[in-house]
Symmetry: none
Subunit: 249 residues, 2 copies
């Protein structure tokens, strides 16, 4: 995956995280999507220590994490501060953007400086005091019956959406489709096998030939698949003929 230009200016800020597994999961998703700057505000001390001591893919992100005692310090260098919410606040002081719209705005800001995406604690989300540091709220569209996401999963989905439209090279495909000549060779051997088995008869031969040709074209075979099928059919044909040589020859 090619990195978008200013992903390095993105900061993930976790406020008052309680569960070391969630810290680890958030860091892992960051590593997966190439967002490497983690800032933690007042994490539960034991949780942070435990998460940092864990080995594994998130270790580097956690080792480089910066710790702050106030939200204000954690976001002081950021030109845009986006607070995430499960959308359950009764009082709305902020504009809310759905994740995809929010990400578009974040990407517009990145050229001009660092952007923080802030996630609250598992228990209570972000406090009103925390929210007051943000320009607007961002919300992952979950269903009404079950709005609140797990912290690690919310970070993963948010970063996925942030990175998803970065210019990415196409996924290399295993193989191009088989050529018409390859498919026609295969069709011929299939017809021989159908004739040798009695499926194709002189009376239905023309119709069966068309049916077989259409079928082979619809099968979406690549050259490797075509080769496999050809091998199978040749063996079957050989067996049919060797056992019934007296009849078909």
């Amino acid at each position: 995956m090619q990195q978008p230009f200013q992903l390095d200016r993105l900061r993930v800020v976790l406020v008052a995280t309680r569960n070391p597994l969630n810290l680890g999961a958030a860091a892992r998703a960051m590593s997966n999507f190439g967002v490497l700057h983690l800032r933690v505000v007042n994490p539960f001390a034991l949780a942070f220590r435990e998460a940092r001591s864990a080995l594994g893919p998130a270790a580097e992100v956690l080792a480089n994490a910066e710790e702050f005692s106030t939200m204000a310090d954690a976001i002081s260098d950021c030109g845009l501060v986006v607070c995430t919410t499960a959308f359950q606040h009764r009082e709305m002081h902020h504009r809310i953007h759905r994740l995809d719209e929010g990400v578009r705005l974040i990407r517009e800001h990145l050229p001009s400086g660092p952007v923080a995406i802030v996630f609250g604690s598992e228990k209570s989300g972000l406090s009103n005091a925390d929210l007051s540091h943000g320009q607007w709220l961002m919300h992952i569209p979950t269903r009404g019956e079950h709005l609140s996401m797990n912290l690690g999963q919310a970070v993963a989905v948010t970063l996925y959406e942030t990175v998803r439209d970065a210019r990415q090279p196409a996924v290399p495909q295993p193989l191009a489709p088989a050529t018409a000549a390859e498919l026609e060779r295969l069709t011929a051997v299939l017809l021989d096998a159908l004739a040798a088995s009695g499926y194709a008869t002189p009376a239905n031969f023309a119709a069966t030939e068309q049916k077989a040709r259409r079928l082979v074209r619809r099968m979406n075979l690549n050259p490797h698949d075509a080769e496999i099928v050809l091998g199978m059919l040749r063996q079957i044909l050989w067996k049919l003929r060797s056992r019934s040589g007296d009849v078909t020859r």
Copy 2:
């Protein structure tokens, strides 16, 4: 969030999941995004019991989860079976789609019947035998340095992407794909024919079985095509056996 029309036809299949927290996290993300049909194949018994006993938002999805002992049973009613991968396979037998492209194809299929999205175990992903049941692979674009995602996070990101454009109804397709059960029946007859012809031998049988299963899945057959191929193979098999009854029986 508005529910897409046929989200109810989506099945999340977790194969050989080891960690109860991951089962719980997957179920929670399903509940968040309104994808409620969970199927588990050979979960670690203790993990499944522990996850099911947990209270919380995922409880209903887990309580209704269906348990299967084979992948074939878990996906038998599905017309499209999509296997997820961290994209680390050296040998590529399947076409790979990036998550966003894959989701587009899944949404095209939903009007014609159930679709399974299959996730492998935390430790080793899906085996080649598991993969042979799928039509194609789907891959979340993560960075090269750290490809493999946490299971619960992978499920969350996949379902987020699946639901995100929900308001656009998919264009219905002309003909439903063959179900996994139909394709498995076809695979069985193909294997019989390959055995009767000498293509499949006791020495190569397991490998040939996987090769045949993968091949049939890649062929993109609709029920009509599957019926035609089945008819051809049955006639060939009958002929092979009737001519060489002394050898194969």
